[in-house]
């Protein structure tokens, strides 16, 4: 039995995903000048696959750095307050920072990260997310680059996991209910 058998439907097929990522790269290229040398900040783990594909399309010289965060407490309702497990390797003071996220739903975690990074004095701070679930939003944060707006469904693949599996599917799929209700 393969991982794909747990997928009820393919929400965004691989070709469509890759085409949109190439477009996002063009939008980002149009936003920054070559001298800006933006720093792309990837929030692990979910966004690593998106980052790997997005950055290979970018013409603008840029750098990448990583943050890994974990929420306090358990449960599905996130307060947004997170623990930083891995902080950026470099200072962002005076830098053009682009946060790269896999998905934004309530916006609470992103709100926390942007507030945290803003205190460090970046020259600019923008957000690029592959997926957005507007119907779940609790805090409005401007998203500068959005791959796809999606309905409030249980999505996996392309970096997004359920209990650490399905991350490696090359498309975005909706998980069958029996796969997560056990």
């Amino acid at each position: 039995m393969g991982l794909r058998d747990d997928v009820a439907k393919v929400l965004i097929p691989e070709e469509k995903l890759q085409a949109r990522i190439a477009e996002l790269a063009r939008e980002i290229d149009a936003t920054y000048s070559r001298d800006d040398r933006p720093l792309l900040v990837c929030v692990l783990k979910g966004a690593f696959m998106f980052l790997a594909d997005l950055t290979r399309h970018l013409e603008t010289p840029h750098e990448v750095d990583f943050m890994e965060i974990s929420s306090y407490g358990r449960g599905t309702v996130s307060s947004g307050v997170v623990r930083i497990l891995l902080d950026l390797a470099q200072s962002i003071e005076g830098r053009h920072v682009l946060i790269v996220e896999d998905i934004i739903d309530t916006g609470r975690t992103l709100d926390y990260i942007t507030r945290n990074l803003r205190t460090r004095g970046p020259a600019s701070l923008r957000v690029c997310t592959l997926l957005s679930k507007p119907s779940r939003r609790e805090i409005e944060i401007p998203l500068d680059f959005v791959g796809f707006e999606i309905p409030d469904e249980f999505v996996v693949g392309y970096g997004l996991d359920f209990a650490e599996i399905y991350r490696n599917l090359p498309f975005i799929g909706v998980l069958k209910e029996e796969a997560y209700r056990q």
């Binding site: 393969g2 991982l3 890759q18 190439a22 990837c42 692990l44 783990k45 690593f48 696959m49 980052l51 790997a52 594909d53 950055t55 290979r56 399309h57 970018l58 013409e59 010289p61 840029h62 750098e63 990448v64 750095d65 990583f66 890994e68 974990s70 497990l85 891995l86 390797a89 470099q90 392309y158 650490e164 599996i165 991350r167 490696n168 599917l169 090359p170």
Partner: protein, 186 residues
């Protein structure tokens, strides 16, 4: 897949491995790993930041077997040619590995110190098995013997960038692997 970044940066001397060659080899490695671990049970891929993130992204999505992905961040105490090999752990993995199959995913092995450190660190956690998957190896530079179980390519002792590898954080996300001009780093 669209072809990308055809214009070489000025610091680049020549392309060592083009995008198609890398992708084909990653596909072969993924097929081999999928076959070898088909009946093994829990597999945890441990990617070493920052360099391995692109290799990890391409390798993981080609695996046909279920697995976990985790990352570890390391830093050397002293950089440069005189490195003693002492490694500082910046961020550990989050996935418990005891009793699981661990595959360390690295972009490049030169002296072997980092890989040796990772092997002893993970061995102490009593995994069911412990292997390494490395995209690039520079055998001429080896100081300690650290086993590589899955290897992408052997390359000569030149400074390479792209596909995760950087020079002062630059050129890391080129879709191919290129040799830098000597005057850039010497």
């Amino acid at each position: 897949m669209s072809r990308r970044k055809v214009e070489l940066p000025k610091a680049v001397d020549r392309v060592l491995l083009d995008e198609e060659t890398i992708q084909r080899r990653v596909e072969e490695l993924a097929a081999q790993i999928s076959a070898d671990y088909a009946d093994a049970g829990d597999l945890v891929l441990v990617g070493v930041l920052k360099g391995a993130f692109i290799f990890m992204a391409d390798l993981a999505r080609r695996l046909t077997i279920s697995h976990h992905v985790d990352f570890i961040a390391l830093s050397s105490y002293n950089r440069g040619a005189t490195s003693t090999g002492a490694v500082r752990l910046i961020m550990d993995t989050r996935t418990p590995v005891t009793g699981r199959h661990v595959l360390i995913v690295e972009d490049i092995v030169d002296t072997g110190y980092t890989l040796d450190y990772l092997l002893s660190t993970f061995q102490a956690r009593r995994p069911a098995s412990l292997k390494t998957c490395v995209l690039l190896s520079k055998p001429e530079r080896r100081k300690v013997n650290a086993p590589i179980h899955y290897l992408g390519f052997e390359i000569p002792d030149v400074w390479v960038v792209g596909y995760g590898l950087d020079y002062a954080d630059r050129y890391r996300t080129l879709p191919y692997i290129a040799a830098l001009k000597r005057e850039v780093y010497e």
